[in-house]
Assembly symmetry: C2
Homo-oligomer: 397 residues x 2
């Protein structure tokens, strides 16, 4: 694929007398866009942002911001003027809008044919089946009675129900123990996917980045610890993971990236079962919470590699810089002001890497994360969880 | 010192329902401001920039930019509204303007009483003499005949002449071999400082960061390799430097920071002599080229620690993350477009850390730098110098 530059020049981006580095258009103003902008600054990449409001996390720190609604095609079209490529902070842009942008000649990365697998869990499951990637037992269900039939086809209840579109961080997901409990997911009028409730021993994530010319890099497989359906802690690499299963997870993620035509960062969330299998839980085609550790723990962060991938630049080294890196999400607590807690955490641990998103504190909302690294996993983990707990207000000493 | 917040609230920055992180006002839109903004993003610090033009390096990437002239007091005063502290990308703001801002109640860090030592080489030398810090032999000279007398007082010519204000990267500095050559420095009407030309074996830099409450951290002492009066390469730590001389240089820099009341980053440029002494060459009170290696080579970068210091936050760990880190400046060459060279460098070395400043390429202009790190100094150095040379166009294979 050939990138157009803002100047209209063709590769190698030459025009006399000026800097000709490309412009990345980022749709969505959340923390992923904020951290992608941060990673783009040293790369010399110009960044243009489409944000819902000027107060959004990324809009606070980016120079070139357009305020507008990503669900409106004309807004997207106007935004795309002057961008050499369009990429995303989230998966919510309607697939048909992405096709329209591509038809206009704007490179969209990941493209709609890939992104649909992260937008629609039904499409995703069908594709993974077709390419032979192991998933939990699943099928689309019609109504609560059909859920009961799905349960009877396997090991019975409980069953996991998911709306195929619109879920996020535990929203749009139900665990039901009977047909009587299965009414709610059908009320949205969106197709519902039923999945066996996997008796997993832990959750893993395999993060890879792929470029349009087919180069790909794979980060170490991590363990992701969820609390109430939200990622709490990520440990890199996943402790005690066999070399065989680690290689299997990385190969699986690289295969998914290639077969689905992903460009940019792909997170493959996995279940590890007691009998040593891995099954795909979810896919995300953008920088992902399970890759935040790479900012301080890898030679090249997921954000820098996402920028490099969408511009078809050579990818950076994904290898770890420390024996262990731990990421802990900072959730909002009851007290709206984190500044004095933040000061305390810095004083307690001069090696703590804090990443704040500039978001208003609301109870349970992700407002930042911390990274710690070192040789002693217990120590590295304690430092991260203490800081996250102190910032939230659940630890006060 | 107590910071006011944008909301007018007092520490601990509490007001109901919102994020109350402070606002740092940065005067000057160069690459140091750009990289300080980058370091401030994860800290959740809001950044406001006073820049000469919207095309300046930092103005391209900062959200909140005021275009104006830092030499105009009313511009500075208007800019300072809404800032919790003012800091600098350069040392050129008139001392009396800084005093006026302080009188208005705006914290200025470093303050004018400290910054004057980085603005005026005559004031700097007098102070370093007074606190017993070793310097090259020096005195203010009146005219070319006085330069001849200065030479005769020591080992004769050559003599180094410097205008006490306004010098930068070799500008404002002359090496003269006779009184006849000594006319030019006096033409600017600025006092002229004469210094012995030190027969140094190499140049070192000791970088420290100091906060208003007196906490200080010291980075490893580095070797700085100059070409044509401009920093070319920095090696961290300085190879073969004795532990004794290293400790002496760090203690010297910490003493200067304390005695001069520096807040923020202080770079002390040093000469190492053949007989094992260190003498102070120059001071800079801001993030400095000799500290760029810390972005990828230290636990906390000079930029992050500068932000933490000016906000009186606890400082971050300054220790190195790699055995060797090498920084090489990228200077502009004859070809204005670096993008294809940049792509080549990424492909050749996936571990290369590129930092571009978004500046138009002009021959000899600093437009970026690269950092490399690893265990083998010769390899780390070759990688950095190859990339810098390739980007400049002096290496083509």
């Amino acid at each position: 694929m050939i990138l157009r530059t803002r100047s209209g020049a063709v590769p190698p981006y030459g025009y006399p007398g000026g800097v000709t580095f490309p412009v990345v258009g980022m749709v969505g103003g959340g923390q992923l866009a904020r951290m992608t902008h941060e990673a783009g600054i040293p790369l010399g990449i110009k960044f243009k942002l489409l944000s819902d409001t000027p107060q959004d996390s990324a809009a606070q720190v980016v120079s070139d911001v357009v305020i507008g609604d990503y669900r409106d095609l004309e807004t997207l079209r106007a935004f795309a003027q002057g961008c050499d490529v369009i990429t995303f902070d989230h998966e919510h842009v309607p697939t048909e809008h992405l096709r329209a942008l591509e038809a206009d000649g704007i490179p969209v990365r990941p493209g709609p044919d890939a992104l649909v697998h992260a937008q629609d869990k039904g499409v995703m499951r069908a594709k993974l089946d077709a390419i032979g990637v192991p998933c939990p037992r699943h099928r689309i269900v019609e109504d609560p009675d059909d859920v009961a039939r799905f349960a009877a086809e396997g090991d019975g209840f409980p069953v996991v129900l998911k709306t195929v579109r619109g879920g996020y961080d535990g929203k749009g997901v139900w665990i039901v123990r009977s047909a009587e409990e299965a009414g709610e997911p059908f009320r949205a009028g969106v197709p519902v996917l039923a999945e066996e409730k996997v008796a997993f021993v832990r959750e893993l994530a395999a993060n890879v980045v792929r470029s349009p010319h087919g180069q790909a890099v794979s980060y170490p497989v991590v363990e992701s610890v969820q609390v109430d359906g939200v990622c709490d802690t990520v440990i890199a690499p996943a402790p005690g993971l066999s070399q065989e299963l680690s290689a299997q997870a990385q190969q699986l993620a690289l295969k998914v990236a290639q077969e689905l035509g992903v460009v940019g960062h792909l997170a493959v969330e996995l279940f590890e079962t007691a009998d040593g299998r891995i099954l795909v839980n979810e896919l995300a085609m953008r920088p992902h919470n399970s890759g935040h550790w790479t900012q301080d723990g890898a030679i090249t962060s997921q954000f820098a590699n996402h920028v490099r991938a969408v511009l078809d630049l050579p990818l950076g080294d994904p290898r770890p810089r420390a024996k262990w890196t731990v990421m802990a999400n900072v959730l909002g607590g009851d007290y709206p002001d984190m500044y004095s807690a933040y000061l305390h955490c810095m004083a307690r641990d001069p090696g703590l890497k804090i990443h704040m998103y500039g978001k208003d504190v609301k109870p349970g909302r992700k407002v930042g994360h911390v990274n710690t690294y070192g040789d002693d996993l217990a120590d590295v983990r304690e430092r991260a969880s203490h800081a996250a707990g102190y910032l939230r207000g659940t630890i006060t000493e």
